[in-house]
Symmetry: C2
Subunit: 799 residues, 2 copies
Amino acid sequence: MQLKLIALLVSAAAAQAIGDTRHKLLPPRLRANGQAGLDAQLSSRQLEASKAESGCSDGTITTTAPKSNIFAGLTDDEFADTTAFLHQQKFLNLTAVSNATAWDNIIVTIDLLQPNKSDAINYLDNGAPAPPRYAHATVQFGATLEPYVQEYQVGPLPITNQSAVTELNYIYNSGKGKQRIYNADAASIATFQYQVGTQVANITSRLINGTAIGSATDTLLIGGNDPVIHELNRTVQWNQFYAINTGFAVDETLLPTGLEFKTDITGRDPSKWSVIGWYYGGQFWPTTRAFMTAANSPDFKSLGLAVDGSFGSTDSQGAQLPHDDLYPPTALQPQGTRYAIDMEQQYVEWMGFSFYIGFTRDTGMQLHNVEYQGQRVIYELGLQEALAHYASIDPLQSATAYLDSYYGFGPSSFELVQGFDCPAYATYVNASFYTQEASHTHANAICLFEYDPGYPISRHIASDYTTVSKHADLILRSVATVGNYDYMFEYAFHIDGSIHVTVRASGYIQGAYYAENEEYGFHIHDVLSGNMHDHVLNYKLDLDVLGTKNSLMRSNVVPATVQYNWSPGVPRNTMKVERDFITNENDAQINWDYNGATTYTVVNKDQKNQYGEYRGYTVTPASGSIVHLTVQNSTDLGSSANWATNHLYAVQQHDSEPRSAYPYNNQDTNKPAVDFGKFINGESLDQEDIVLYFNLGMHHLPQTADLPVTVFTTAQSSMLIIPQNYIDYNPSKATIHNVRVNFNNGVVTDIDTFGTVVPQCQLDFGSVAANLSGYTGEIITPKYPYDPSAAQVANPGAA
Amino acid sequence: MQLKLIALLVSAAAAQAIGDTRHKLLPPRLRANGQAGLDAQLSSRQLEASKAESGCSDGTITTTAPKSNIFAGLTDDEFADTTAFLHQQKFLNLTAVSNATAWDNIIVTIDLLQPNKSDAINYLDNGAPAPPRYAHATVQFGATLEPYVQEYQVGPLPITNQSAVTELNYIYNSGKGKQRIYNADAASIATFQYQVGTQVANITSRLINGTAIGSATDTLLIGGNDPVIHELNRTVQWNQFYAINTGFAVDETLLPTGLEFKTDITGRDPSKWSVIGWYYGGQFWPTTRAFMTAANSPDFKSLGLAVDGSFGSTDSQGAQLPHDDLYPPTALQPQGTRYAIDMEQQYVEWMGFSFYIGFTRDTGMQLHNVEYQGQRVIYELGLQEALAHYASIDPLQSATAYLDSYYGFGPSSFELVQGFDCPAYATYVNASFYTQEASHTHANAICLFEYDPGYPISRHIASDYTTVSKHADLILRSVATVGNYDYMFEYAFHIDGSIHVTVRASGYIQGAYYAENEEYGFHIHDVLSGNMHDHVLNYKLDLDVLGTKNSLMRSNVVPATVQYNWSPGVPRNTMKVERDFITNENDAQINWDYNGATTYTVVNKDQKNQYGEYRGYTVTPASGSIVHLTVQNSTDLGSSANWATNHLYAVQQHDSEPRSAYPYNNQDTNKPAVDFGKFINGESLDQEDIVLYFNLGMHHLPQTADLPVTVFTTAQSSMLIIPQNYIDYNPSKATIHNVRVNFNNGVVTDIDTFGTVVPQCQLDFGSVAANLSGYTGEIITPKYPYDPSAAQVANPGAA
């Protein structure tokens, strides 16, 4: 008992030395509680805890990653060398992007080719050298009547005469890393759209109060649907006039005018493109002539104008809230970080967890090699694709089904606003990617911080004591703004060994014109329909539970009627838990039970715990809705998003199936280069390397509360990854941020704070506000021609 | 523009005056942004905001409730007067509790009889006088062979010669506020159990290493199942020996020995009670003789001993976590509360919300008359009942289905641990109730505080600006510890007008002995099974949307194949939203859709918004699992918990149906005084006063991570109540805790902070630790005989 008492005296003295007498010194221990066995076990660690600092500080603990981050992106030099090496390849016939036309071949993007898991595991676990590095280059072939992209593997890096550029085909289950594309002539298409806008300028002036003729004084813009439509052997697109914002807020997706036209943009010769239909207010005209004739008749009336206004402004407005002039409660970090970070390797350690941060052009922030208590539990965790599928009476909205990795979650992950997007005390990490023959760095695009969620992790009160244990989460966060929508991606690590994967949505909805749209959404502003759409976001979760050989256990809580031997003659209506294994991919296309009756756990059948139960990790819906796509056999999507038809999938890991999606899947949705449906081909899940794909998302039925922007409060969806029988107790027992108050007859007899020292110091509250004048946006370094000393700071912001 | 600039200059100057030059002064506005229309609208409120204090303070804003809290409990004097008045009633033939035996009539409890809604609305809305106050007394009639409780109405209060004691029957749909009870002879039953324990002491010593003979040196205790069993016209109970804790932690529910016996306790004559069965390790013996014969045979082996140890201790233990000696991030409240409270009336105002807090013996903390933007949206919101239904191979666990309002959420709501259960800066509110002819006050049993959940409420970035708006929640919280389990109840108000109802569970599981229990749970410690059970918690939500005449709208997102006029010859696979009304109670026994496709909104058909949509409030699952009871036609429950068979119900409001449950429903589960099933009787929901009942909960399949106690992280369930088309915009726009950063070419050109002033001051971090030496427990004031000056402080803690 001696050690324990000393520890507490030291703590109290240290606190007293700098204490403020007005405030809250912890009372000295009043008596030792009589449980020698447990106390002896606890005492040594409490002594250690007493060494804790009692002052405030704001340091960041650094560490050195045990292995280099083989998942991180390419270095500036690697980008430049790869670019130059590609340009050397005669067969590619590349033109520098800065000089290129639509009829040239260009490098669209370069990223790290993620190592095969088999190679990475050898490096991480078996002491093998790091796998050779390769770049993954996407080259657009524009000098042809049928433009396409082809994926290439470039390396090994650094470039030597051993290096080569070879087609990258094995990770695309169409058989080839090639995709016919329809966006090569985007500039010509825009020109064509403005020609149409000019042709009907008189009508648009009268009907929808503006013109879109390609002039700086335009008050309308024209937007086309995505994905482009392939029907009846033609390439077609629906286009709509939108009012341009008049305030600062770029809120055009709230300003559809309802006037739409259909273009046939088959082939590459703009002179052969045509307008093949018009739509307004539920009516369809097959030709421009027919539309103009109708529209010029005197009884053809506008159904209402799209007018920008404060309803789309994100500035503070409206009657001031009572006492909102006072500053709200805010979290401070009194003693610096309690996590350790290797900034160069983007490697983090916290409370028994460690992980590497990855970042790719296609999918943004990712997690790699998540270890817990010294053992890998997750090889890879990250977003694969985000679908936003609309439905509407009007053709543009009906034909809209964004697959956002086309735009890229990397380029869409902008600088975070410190003190608002994350606490000012967070650690901010830069994110880099490559497009347009330049590497781009978004400063402070990822934040990492510890947070108290506002409730304890556990507690109990009994007749003579109460004990409460603090919560602590480590949160890794980024926000990707893909056009109108802001997705907040978050991985939260809990001190109980669980991991919480969350996505939240804010930003502007893409509304529809209100007319005739009652079956597709609420009427939410003058001429605006809060158009229905499904968000489905697919994540890859490659759990490795005590090795890569795993199985998928299902636990199902079911009603049962049982005649027990102890209840003769009285059959009892009760329940049971049925446990079995899903042993084949075909049986692992899973929807969550409406009553939460079924639990799925990845276990290692060869690794039972001491009580004979399988050690494993469970995945379970945690917050918001978990949805699969409502639309069945979507006309818009074809087979480009077959991961969206169920909630959860388990498949066998293959190096040839690294990702469920592909950025160019939106170019011809019936002929995707990666069809997730083909992942499911009857393979065994019995002690194999299992990869889960799960969906987050929501059916979004926007209403007036989505104006001006959707709020994260109600638009979120998350999944928990929870250890199940994995450790023999709850690991959160280990935290010293716990208290036991013993009492008797209304008097406190003992307080055990387990060595916690509350810093007795003054904190500058002003530090909760970061200096935002340093908001720098992205840093662009051109790679061709490459000048390593040149770093150009340019305008950040959504594309 | 003039006003706006002045406002910002004032703010900056105020900040500068006390500023710390090291830190974070907001940069001055660099330029005014050019949007005259919006700016003019915003400017006056920003000037107002500039009056904000720039220093720190810790005040609590007080207010005066517009009406007195007619839902709050009785006063001390009312308790005393009611007690005395009851004792005057000869027909009750009462004995003071302190002198009473099981064969006397006693007052069990007194509480406020909640006013009828019809009367309350008249008072709240129509200026009628406050409804007369009545006490609700529960009297136990022990002086009879068939003891029972009868509910009484006592009043009006204060007691005058107009006052009377009358049977309270109209709120019990059995027709009578009367329930035959089986707990009157609890002391005799305990004596009988120890007689059995004495009879088998030699066997328990050998088999399970202890004895339970009713002595102070007992190392075992005996617990019986709840609810008591009525089968074959007998009253029976299963009882189990548990090891008594040897450490400080009262963790007996982790220490079942697996040895159980069945008692026939029919009638009130203990001499006629008998033991009618024994159970151990899957075997059943119909008599004590048979069991003793078997147990005394040499080959009858113990299946393992229940031994207490550190696995049940809630003290910090195990290897210290890295950097856990540092103090974690913690929220501080720099300028005092931003809510206003009338402590006497337990009335709160915050950001457009106002509400009254209620507290009852049966159900604990409740909300009444929640108004938003000056209009009632909720008449009543609160817990009704919590069910914990077990299933097991062993008879005691199989026959366990707690209905916890029997124990009472009021008496179970103990003092919170400041700085751990809620922030130290929270406002703590006392809770009072009456049992055993004394009023009890649990100091600080409710906390109220504002909290930043760690992510913004909304954000957007565009090409030249980014804007992010802070979140703020007002949280009202209490914790009820009913025996082994700690339920954390929480109501969180969001600045977007939504309300979040959460329950979390911690504390000890009630485990089963492991032997033969594989079909009912994981084996989680030496001889412990993490016995499966369903938690189902029923809440009443009486929404009043723009008056009491409301309807229940259903919005269903469904796949559809449509031939549009604009897509000739190409039928499209898409989706629609189908909206209709559920117009009858019989159709409103609802389960949530597995894919979240269906939304339920309480609307007022007579109150469309300006766009023709119904203004309403939606209820939707928010986090964790939402469950109904797995067991169908439970043998344990009979018809005592018919609210547990679905997720959500809508019924017509009746003053005669104030609550879905009744504390004594567990006494004879086939004959409950309140059967929720009878609420559903075909009444209209078309523009009627609709009351929703929804369930929270979880299927709990405890595993090793539930040791020592279940963690709130993974054991939570919540519901969101969200305005839908209720206001024409999102109310969170109004907060000034918003920022817009304009930038151009990597340089910040403007920062608008909307008048927010960040306090530039030093905060004493030590204040995050409350002084826990003041933990006082409950204050008991005896009411019979009554001495208003006597307040006795006694031992708090679980019963």
